[in-house]
């Protein structure tokens, strides 16, 4: 029994130890596995965190700063239009604690803000724009105020550093950066091309030349009490426009809407009867068709001829206009002589020539302000009057192109303000005709010519200017027929004998200038020519600097002057 008891005891002891051991083992297993699970979770989390980019890697900003619209520069790289950051001052209603104290702060710091308007808007709107396009000092004022309800709203603004100098060409954009006029509208897609935002658009214009022409035209308007003026300077062989001015104009940075007619572009939009400058085309057509020669004589020219019932008068007729050579018809600007040339050339040939010069076509230029010239049906009478630029109207741009073709050797170029656009031109007259025309046009300007030409006031020493004047009555706006107001044009080119530049000057509704001439005559020779002469005198040296041929020509001819 004892043994048994002992055995039992031993057995019991072993049994209880095994149980305890198992229990301990189980508990330790639980603890270890719990640790293992926690360790696994932590390590897994660490691995995931290691691969998670969103939390730690900063969002990368573009290292380049681009605005929504490309810069525009002139041919010398001078800035004409540029976008920049701008701030509007806004009032956020839900952050306002005391509106009266905020309005007092606004009134003190920004006196131009109309507080009454803000008060009325405050009732209806959550966000009120207090001031647009803050200046840097205004910007700093807002920051130093530290008022939570006054916020700065960042946006883009288009700036035109040359103010009104190119306003008729460049045009404007709206608040959303869309072009609404001029080059800005015509070239809107290209200007907003996201792939090219860092590349500025280069124009063929020259700021210094544009300024000089602008200044001389402004003086001209004052001197001759005119309502407006315009000028185009074009490279005769390429059609590239170096300068294009229309006055009056406005500052491109003013965001006001302009509705007044006087601000229309006088170079591409307004249509004018351009007068006797057309005699150049009439004569060029007949010479090119080998109908007449430079020295052919037209004799027994009368003071008045009739087309049906309508009389056509000679301008300032005297006996010296009775027998005229072709060159004298041009220099003395004889209307009757021109009609005789059309009769000899043939009405149809004359009409075709004008059409070939694209006088009646819609002008092509990289702006939106363009007008299609009015073309009436060709009749006998209006074909005659078209010979001296009456009864037909066109734009100054079309006249400039046509003139370029007459003086550049006979090729009509496409006009463009883009520096790198392809030059397109086609032949309209022969080189020989062009040379003959240049000689005749020089005779009209040359001071040494005994037959005093209407362009002699533009004979600037050293530039060998050639050209033809035109004076035309303006159609009446209230009645049928013509008003007493006139428009004067001088279409010129220089230097003869191979002109490189064409300059057309238009002066709208000029008056006499007795302070300059001691008489009150108001034909083109006494205003448009005078202005063109002053322009050439000013821009000539600047053009010559970049043009070695002109310098050489000027130098080689100066000793004979």
């Amino acid at each position: 029994m004892k043994k048994n008891k002992q055995l039992d005891l031993y057995f019991d002891e072993i049994q209880t130890n095994e149980k305890e051991h198992k229990h301990l083992e189980f508990r330790s297993n639980i603890v270890v596995s719990a640790f293992l699970i926690i360790f696994l979770i932590i390590s897994l989390r660490l691995v995931f965190l290691g691969f998670d980019k969103n939390i730690y890697i900063y969002s990368k900003n573009n290292e380049q700063l681009f605005y929504e619209r490309r810069d525009v520069i002139d041919s010398n790289g001078i800035l004409l239009a540029k976008n920049t950051a701008s701030y509007d001052l806004i009032l956020r209603k839900n952050k306002v604690k005391n509106i009266d104290s905020i309005l007092i702060k606004v009134k003190i710091n920004f006196p131009t803000v109309k507080i009454n308007n803000v008060k009325s808007e405050y009732k209806n709107k959550e966000i009120i724009i207090l001031k647009r396009n803050l200046s840097p000092s205004d910007y700093n004022k807002v920051i130093s105020l530290g008022e939570p309800s006054l916020e700065l709203s960042k946006k883009e603004m288009r700036v035109y550093p040359q103010k009104n100098l190119f306003s008729h060409i460049l045009g404007k954009i709206d608040i959303d950066n869309n072009g609404i006029s001029g080059f800005e509208m015509y070239y809107d897609k290209e200007l907003r091309d996201t792939k090219k935002l860092s590349i500025p658009i280069k124009l063929s214009l020259k700021t210094n030349i544009q300024y000089l022409i602008h200044e001389e035209l402004s003086k001209g308007i004052k001197d001759f009490s005119a309502s407006g003026a315009a000028a185009i300077l074009m490279e005769a062989h390429t059609g590239k426009i170096i300068s294009m001015v229309s006055l009056p104009d406005v500052d491109g940075n003013d965001r006001k809407e302009i509705k007044e007619k006087k601000y229309l572009s006088k170079t591409t939009k307004s249509l004018y009867e351009l007068g006797s400058v057309f005699k150049t085309f009439t004569i060029a057509s007949a010479i090119d068709n080998k109908i007449i020669g430079k020295n052919d004589l037209f004799s027994d020219l009368r003071q008045r001829v009739y087309c049906g019932k309508f009389p056509i008068d000679e301008y300032r007729w005297d006996k010296s206009k009775k027998n005229l050579t072709v060159e004298q018809i041009l220099v003395k600007s004889s209307n009757i002589g021109t009609i005789e040339i059309i009769k000899k050339n043939g009405l149809e040939a004359h009409q075709k020539f004008l059409e070939n010069l694209e006088i009646f076509e819609m002008p092509k230029l990289e702006v939106v302000e363009l007008s299609k010239p009015n073309k009436n049906r060709w009749g006998k009478c209006n074909t005659f009057t078209s010979g001296f630029g009456h009864g037909i109207s066109t734009t100054l741009l079309q006249l400039t192109r046509a003139y370029a073709s007459i003086v550049n050797g006979g090729e009509l170029p496409n006009a463009s303000i883009l520096l790198n656009s392809e030059v397109q031109k086609r032949r309209v007259i022969s080189e020989k005709t062009s040379q003959l025309m240049n000689d005749m046009l020089r005779a009209n300007v040359d001071k040494k010519n005994k037959t005093e030409g209407s362009g002699r006031n533009a004979d600037i020493n050293g530039y060998f200017v050639i050209g033809k004047t035109g004076t035309a009555q303006k159609p009446s706006e209230t009645e049928k027929g013509y008003s007493k107001e006139i428009v004067n044009i001088f279409a010129s080119a220089f230097p003869h004998p191979k002109p490189k530049y064409v300059l057309t000057v238009l002066i709208d509704e000029p008056n006499g200038a007795p302070q300059i001439w001691k008489h009150s005559r108001r034909e083109a020779g006494w205003n448009a020519v005078y202005i063109a002469g002053r322009i050439i005198q000013k821009i000539g040296p600047s053009l010559a600097i970049n043009d070695l041929d002109l310098v050489k020509f000027h130098a080689s001819n100066s000793k004979y002057n």
Partner: protein
């Protein structure tokens, strides 16, 4: 794992630095753009012409070819 963390922290530091630099670049670019516009205004022919009228002598003469003489001694 420790090396991953080390690498990661280093990368973060560099990224913060580059972020600051690129923000500075943009800030400076904005400034340059403003300076370009200011230069455009300041160097505009109209402004220079007005300053010239104000501060420079106005007694210019236009030289014609008669004024040009060859130095025959040379």
């Amino acid at each position: 794992m420790a090396s991953v963390h080390f690498l990661k922290n280093k990368t973060r530091e560099i990224e913060i630095k580059t972020e600051k630099i690129s923000k500075n670049i943009i800030f400076m670019q904005e400034n340059i753009e403003v300076q370009k516009i200011e230069y455009g205004f300041l160097a505009s022919p109209e402004r220079i012409s007005n300053l010239a009228k104000k501060y420079l002598s106005n007694d210019y003469i236009f030289l014609t070819s008669e004024y040009i003489k060859l130095d025959e001694k040379k």
